[in-house]
Amino acid sequence: MYETLDQIFILLRQWLLGFLPAAWQPVAAIVMSVAVIVGLFPALFALTVLLERKGLGRIQNRIGPNRVGPFGILQPIADGLKSLTKEDIVPLSADAVVHFLAPVVLVVAVFMGFAVLPMGRNMTLVRMDAGLLFYFAIGASTELSVFMAGWSSRNKYSLLGAMRAVAQMISYEVPLLMSSVAVVMISGSLSLDTIVEAQNKYTWGLPHWYIFTPWGFAGFVLYAIATTAETNRSPFDLPEGESELVAGYFTEYSGFKFALFFLGEYLAMFSISGLGTTLFLGGWSAPLASLVWVPSWIWFFGKLLVSMCVFIWIRGTLPRLRQDQLMNFAWKFVLPLTMINLFVAALWHFLGDGWARWVVCTAILALIYVFMATVGMKRKNFGARSYRYAE
């Protein structure tokens, strides 16, 4: 029974493939899996948008959307219909081809990332030995689409937004990669399936997730910071800071293209949360040994939704950073810490089993963190500002 439920999608696909001639089956298998991914994540996107609007409302002591359907649950459908039926305006001076291609490139690039994510036991679309490498290579190409959008719109706000976005995404790409490298060092593989398998073990009923190690915890926090910046989410939403740049790089987009950007942004959040889940939170493995009877895909998507809720929670809490704070934070705090974390991960590996490595690694990380936060990020006091000419 457990096996059937756990593998229900695989079995369903096998059953459907049985109706097709043998020659078509390999292609049909891929098409079916892709179709499920392409259908499922936009549905999840609708759910998350509703969750976000309701959650942010509650955080701000509002009710949130409650008019369309019972408790407003049909709001995403209304939003979707609205954006589909809206006029699609292309500015006269815009580069129409690039302007059209930018959202398409974004969504395609983001969807490619889902190909290597293990969404359950045996539920990886492409079992790639260098899955992590592929993921980051594809993920980096979203910067291209952002800049395409900003440049082709021929609007100063779009261009400023795009330049901010590219600067920010390149800056945080480095700590994102570096915090993931620690996982690769310990698990010894770039394959995401192998990384999940390595975490799918239990001691005293507790899982061997990497987040429950000192270097894993630090890595996860740094990874979370980098992903928030990478997906342009608050408090790192400078590229679309509406109080400064109208809407940033998609200022000149309307109707369905705007919806595509919106979709791409949320899909990027899903996929990067999925990767974080895979790297640090044990992917599809159960959080307790006594819970392994629950199907693996429930755990993966549960963790995904929990990460989305944390994203929303953080958005409701933190105000937007300034550009210089953003860059300082990336290069002077997050990046050095990820490098030290690599060192700690190596130490963890070579100190062998036992309690000594727990003490040593935790102590090093805590000390460095306190040092970096108090000394490194100290605000310089230049005294009261004086104006030479204005007075």
Partner: protein, 202 residues
């Protein structure tokens, strides 16, 4: 500096999130079409023309002096002076607006027209549910649509309207005294030098 402020903030928002489900007094919003908050007295959105008495056309205070038209920053007022005259609030014959249009899609609710009007004829309304399906004609109000009675003005801005009424009564009393004095002076002058025509009022 260690990030404890972030944790404190997260705790605060979590408290808000959970609290909004249990305590209704936390909620800062009202469910608009069903519930409404009464507008405060200083509320204003678009101008209207005040008239005295029951007939909007006869009682209109506006004398088509066109000061508001000239002062309006976005130029949303359009006035055509009448060919004939009719008695105003003080009883003097004055022009009246043959046409008085305000395009409320252009109006920015700055109230400058109200401040420059010497006749207390244009005031700010509080009506805000003005949406229409015709964005050109539907938002261009003519003088009939703009006319509101002095009673309406008293209802929406009681303090201000009372002050305006007092001012107007004062002006009327002064004008009465003046015209009586002028009449007496003219009578006296006429008695002394009958050859010269009597001097008119101001």
């Amino acid at each position: 500096m260690l990030g404890e402020g972030i944790l404190k903030g997260l705790a605060e928002t979590a408290k808000n999130f959970a609290g909004s489900y249990v305590s209704a007094e936390r909620m800062t919003t009202v469910q608009y079409p069903e519930e409404r908050i009464a507008p405060i007295e200083a509320t204003r959105d678009f101008p209207f023309l005040v008239y005295d008495g029951a007939d909007w056309e006869a009682g209109m205070r506006c004398v088509a002096c066109q000061i508001c038209e000239k002062e309006c920053p976005p130029k949303c007022i359009y006035i055509v002076k009448s060919a004939d005259k009719k008695p105003d609030a003080l009883g003097k014959p004055q022009f009246y607006p043959a046409k008085f249009d305000i395009d409320i899609s252009v109006c920015m609710s700055c109230q400058i027209c109200v401040e420059v009007c010497p006749f207390e004829a244009i005031k700010m309304d509080t009506e805000f549910e003005l949406s229409t399906t015709d964005r050109f004609g539907g938002l261009l109000y003519d003088r009939k649509q703009l006319s509101r009675s002095n009673e309406h003005y008293h209802k929406i801005h009681p303090t201000e309207a009372a002050a305006v009424d007092a001012r107007l009564a004062d002006a009327k009393a002064k004008a009465n005294v003046k015209s009586t004095n002028a009449a007496i002076a003219a009578a006296v002058k006429g008695a002394e030098i009958p050859a010269r025509p009597p001097a008119g009022g101001d």
